[in-house]
Point group: C2
Chain length 428, copies 2
């Protein structure tokens, strides 16, 4: 009959009431923990100018962006040959934070500790567990160059996982500048740095010999041998000239966040804005990460300001939700739920007055629902069951004449006629 879809576009989702309860509870817990660590909540617009999202070069990020079509005359002009879009949906919360700080920095506390929880959008192919609209929960410290910032961000995220009942979270740490120093010490030329990193990044996924052979093809035998003593060791030498400073810092961060972080010299993280420390949170249930972050000391330069040291981390909210759902963590209970049924049309107004009076009691957590339709009591009891009501109230002509109400306990079927005062007493 028609082609209007009832499903959201591929990679987008609807959420049921049960989903919403769990999501709202998780967001509330994460917000509370972040706040207890001294982070203040900010929010930025979902839509950004394309210039903000693309930066100077555009590059890798461009493919991630859902672009918004120009409108009106500007669209007509663009159709004749020009950029068709002027804005786009944000693909992370870090870039908007750098913009926010560049605009409001002078009025903010220094350093500025901010958290931001909200949806981001990425035009990637949708896969199982990978969506095109998903939430991020970021905590960032802008304007701080000490490693206290790393400790504070990692501790806040670990504490949020703990408060949510997610156990067994592992922290993996590295310092990108160690990778770059090791490449420089092995005399790898600048124009081969990125290609070398791509090979090194695969060391978990291919035999060591194969990786070393690939490297040798790229940067020669001598450089590869040097790298295999610094960067490509499984237990890095903390006292060698290369990396000594970085390892001391990573060890201090590890100790201050509980002493259980694993230092992995090959960890790089995806985004190109990280400058030194990078970290990831892993969970036995997933091969990938359930959160991560790092230090990005140059991101504000993009907006024409001075480089400002900054460090931030993010919880992978959708993966967190999968863990919470699988481990069956209890969703919030909202107290008792009453369904007020409507006996017939002549008693509708009186029944509504009964519901209003119950709501007016102000009993914390009490949910008062009124059957919103017209129909047989049987259908109304079914509705009460489906919605999880504890009690159904019926006021028929007899009860109305006696100024009483019939209370049915849905679990047991037990019924009793009572006055409003008796009902009130039974609820509190």
């Amino acid at each position: 009959m028609n082609n209007i879809p009832t499903t959201p576009p591929s990679g987008f989702r609807d959420f049921t009431p049960a989903d919403c309860v769990l999501r709202a509870e998780a967001i509330e817990t994460i917000s509370r923990v972040y706040r207890s660590f001294g982070f203040s909540q900010i929010a930025t617009s979902a839509v950004e100018d394309l210039a903000v999202l693309l930066g100077k070069g555009g590059g890798e990020n461009e493919k991630l962006i859902f672009k918004i079509l120009k409108r009106g005359d500007k669209l007509e002009e663009a159709k004749a040959g020009g950029e068709l879009a002027d804005m786009g949906l944000r693909f992370d919360l870090t870039l908007p934070l750098a913009r926010y700080y560049s605009k409001y920095g002078s009025t903010l506390p220094h350093p500025f500790k901010a958290f931001n929880i909200g949806p981001v959008w990425r035009a990637e192919r949708a896969q199982k567990g990978r969506y095109r609209e998903f939430y991020q929960c970021d905590a960032d410290i802008v304007g701080a160059d000490s490693w206290t910032a790393e400790v504070d961000v990692i501790s806040a995220i670990l504490s949020a996982f703990k408060e949510l009942g997610v156990n067994g979270v592992e922290v993996v740490l590295n310092d990108r500048s160690f990778v770059y120093d090791a490449l420089a010490a092995a005399a790898v030329p600048d124009d081969k740095r990125i290609a070398a990193c791509v090979i090194i990044d695969k060391q978990d996924k291919m035999p060591r010999e194969k990786m070393l052979a690939e490297l040798e093809d790229l940067i020669g035998k001598e450089s590869t041998e040097k790298l295999s003593q610094t960067l490509l060791t499984t237990t890095p030498n903390r006292d060698s000239a290369v990396g000594k400073e970085q390892f001391a810092r990573l060890d201090a961060i590890s100790a201050a966040t509980g002493g259980k972080a694993r230092i992995d010299p090959s960890l790089m993280r995806g985004f190109d804005y990280y400058t030194s420390t990078v970290f990831e949170f892993r969970h036995p249930k997933f091969s990938g990460s359930i959160g991560g972050g790092g230090r990005y000391d140059k991101l504000t330069e993009k907006f024409g300001g001075q480089p400002v040291p900054a460090c931030g981390g993010s919880i992978g909210f959708e993966r967190l939700l999968l863990i919470l759902q699988e481990e069956g963590l209890a969703a919030a209970k909202f107290g008792k739920r009453i369904c007020v049924t409507v006996f017939d049309e002549t008693l509708r107004a009186r029944t509504l007055a009964l519901a209003a009076r119950l709501r007016g009691l102000g009993i914390a957590g009490l949910l008062v629902d009124v059957y919103p339709g017209a129909g047989k009591l049987k259908a109304q009891f079914k509705y009460a069951d489906t919605t999880g009501a504890d009690f159904a109230l019926v006021m028929g002509p007899d009860e109305a004449a006696a100024n009483k109400v019939n209370r049915k306990i849905l679990k047991t079927g037990e019924e009793a006629a009572m006055t409003f005062e008796q009902l009130e007493k039974s609820l509190s």
Copy 2:
């Protein structure tokens, strides 16, 4: 140096920590009230297929939509001549609800009481107080044709305003079918109905004589005279043949929601999906509405299903926030805030351990911040002040040697050295 903007696009906004606290608190209150009335929270995707947003005809709504550019090969194909966009940002929460119900209806309670709180986007010209990204807070009942639905939706919204401390809210009620019946009884032909409504809708804004003259030009003298006895009366005749049924229903709704609703026969509300009851919430501070809604009994037809009776309402969240800000309603207090300062690099690890121990106490509402940078104590005390800390803690070499900490009350400047146990006692 560069042209990357630090301001969000026109009509979009960033929110400060103070904004976020107020917004989060308002959303939490509205959610709690809606839930206490038996509504369950749902959420839908921000992005919808254009077919969902445009429906069969497109029409007025098309101009409201931020469209998302196609990507990859599909974009190249479209450039050769075709629709450039495939999806768009939702412009309200009612259409997504109708889609949601069409998809999941058979698994939902019947009737289904849902609430949805989230951002919507409209490609309108930005003005003072009118944004292109703003929140809506909708409560809807799908599958109920009795006027209990209207009472429940209106009562829940009034109750939310009350819980937020917003007083003086007026409810204005009408029934669109009364307008249509009056036009039919006055023999206004179908093809002139919309033009007549446009003139009638202006009756608040122009002299009565002028409006009647315009109507006479359109529909003739006889029809205009009939309308001035039914639709265009200031105190409508509740017992006349036209509107008798509608007025009885509106009177019952008014009585059951507190008895103070004003019935205004000219109220129409903008969206064309309303079929009978329409209502608006007004506040002395604004000439427009701070919320509204109505009955839309045919919206699910769009998705190929049977027409399902439905009624819903929405709070104009951004206007509500203006009232909350102007009336200076207090934002939530988050308990005591401590700023742990870092005396110098040698004491950083011990200071971080002190902060971790304080956080480990699990004192509800306690915020423990650590100065995240490195610098002089003077800058750190300034940071503590700016962030609204109650206490600053200093652990210098003397305190560290004595296993103590110096606690400064920032309001009074009073300082005292104390053990951790003494500090803990002073906090709880």
